[in-house]
């Protein structure tokens, strides 16, 4: 690790919750869209510094949970805490959410880099406008974030000049600019070729190991889940059917729906 990134690591560790502490806790989360109940009283905990891989069929509620944690969707019922603060209860966000929301980053499946800005502007816009950072401080942070995802050479590129994997790595770097404690990744590799997807996932693993950033990742990449995940959560019809270590989930799976799902994904 370079000297710069070592310094950066130190800063992240200063602000991150201690590894092993509960970072996110959800109790009784419910969400319906019309008559369709996509989350049926979800109880879910995430530890600081953990990688949690969330798997399940389309429409099983995985993305809705991520969006609820991110603050993009409000559940109909339930409570959520983030880093010890109650951020959602009585069907609404609490004032504490505004104090911690910048510690939650999210990366999406489709490439969400803003096409009318180069990579540098994509990275520095939010820190400058939202955190009030100076141009030089934002530049310095952007250079470090890009170095962490191996994209230093592309600081002045336009998103249209980048490949899919490069765009996702820049999207990760952009999320890092806000110094998140938690990165939520919603099928970020599903549009990528397997080798490129592996590179992107490797970036997430390094962020966990070097920066202590917790990652919640919706993916169908079972190889990554079995190698890098601390927990595997299997969603089925709006409920968490399995929440286990990768070994327990994949090698000792007893849940018939999980077995069927693993077989379907493998073949």
């Amino acid at each position: 690790m370079s000297e710069n990134s070592a310094a950066h690591t130190g800063t992240h560790r200063d602000i991150a919750a201690k590894s092993g502490d509960v970072l996110v806790s959800c109790r009784g989360l419910k969400k319906s869209f019309g008559d369709r109940e996509v989350m049926k009283s979800i109880d879910f905990d995430m530890l600081a510094g953990d990688i949690t891989v969330i798997i399940g069929r389309s429409g099983s509620g995985k993305s809705t949970l991520l969006r609820a944690i991110a603050g993009l969707t409000d559940p109909d019922d339930g409570t959520m805490t983030f880093d010890g603060e109650v951020v959602f209860e009585d069907s609404k966000r609490t004032p504490a959410w505004k104090q911690v929301d910048s510690h939650v980053g999210m990366i999406f499946q489709s490439y969400t880099l803003w096409p009318h800005m180069d990579v540098l502007k994509n990275l520095t816009l939010a820190p400058r406008k939202r955190l009030g950072m100076s141009e030089s401080a934002a530049l310095e942070r952007a250079e470090k974030a890009l170095a962490e995802v191996g994209m230093s050479d592309h600081i002045h590129s336009r998103p249209s000049e980048l490949s899919g994997g490069e765009r996702q790595r820049v999207a990760i770097a952009r999320a890092l600019m806000m110094r998140p404690k938690l990165l939520l990744c919603d099928e970020i590799t599903s549009a990528l070729d397997p080798p490129v997807a592996a590179e992107v996932l490797d970036v997430l693993r390094r962020l966990k190991e070097e920066e202590g950033i917790a990652v919640a990742l919706v993916t169908h990449d079972m190889a990554f889940a079995s190698k890098a995940a601390d927990r595997v959560v299997f969603f089925h019809e709006g409920e968490i059917a399995v929440n286990a270590t990768p070994d327990d989930a994949f090698n000792k799976a007893e849940d018939p729906e999980l077995k069927k799902f693993i077989d379907a994904v493998r073949f």
Binding site: M106, F108, Y111, T112, W114, P115, L125, A126, R130, S160
Partner: protein, 245 residues
Amino acid sequence: MNYTFDWSVVTNNFPRLLDGLLLTVEISVIVIILSMIFAIPVALLRMSKIEVVRWLAQLYIEIFRCTPLLVQLFWVYYALPTLTGITIPGTISAVIALTLNLTAFMAEAYRSGFQAVPPEQVEAGKMLRLTRFQQIRHIIVPQALKQQLPVIMSLDISLFKDTALVSTIAVADLMFTANKISTESYRALEILSVAALMYFLIAFPASLILSKIERNMMETGNVRGIRRKSLAAQMAPGTKVEVKP
């Protein structure tokens, strides 16, 4: 045709025509700038989650899209003073009526552009905790403007030509001046031909630029950052076809 052209009427009155043209350009520029600014809130109100606000914005847009510009111009110049008791000078009336009209059309162009910005890009802004205003200012508006540039330019060119209607409320624009000179000199053919040429010399280059922008956008793809090469370029021998979602 037994008509002898006398172009001296044009040369003798050229400064007057230029003054008229200058006022036409001034009115056009002011109206375009004001409309481009006012259309942003109108487009946002048109997309409001509050139904009443949305309806009011739509009502404004439909009124100005579905009534003749000449009626709007007369209404502001003749009817509005009756309602308010305040007499508005012709040039100001013209600017008000034209701005209200162009804003309505421009707002619909903006709305279309705003809606074309992928929601994920706005959500990415939310996740970086940009305020709603910052999302609009830095993410939505620049992309919407770029995407709708051909429509906006086309509206602007139409507006420039439509300013000729302000001559009907005694605003001394190019059309009013040309009409006056032709009435004084009985040389309508020369004067109105030159007036038409003056309009053309401004509108035509703008139209050429518009065509070039449209061609460029078709060749290089839209503003979503997905650079679509032309089919011919993609099919060229040895070209690696890149598929980006």
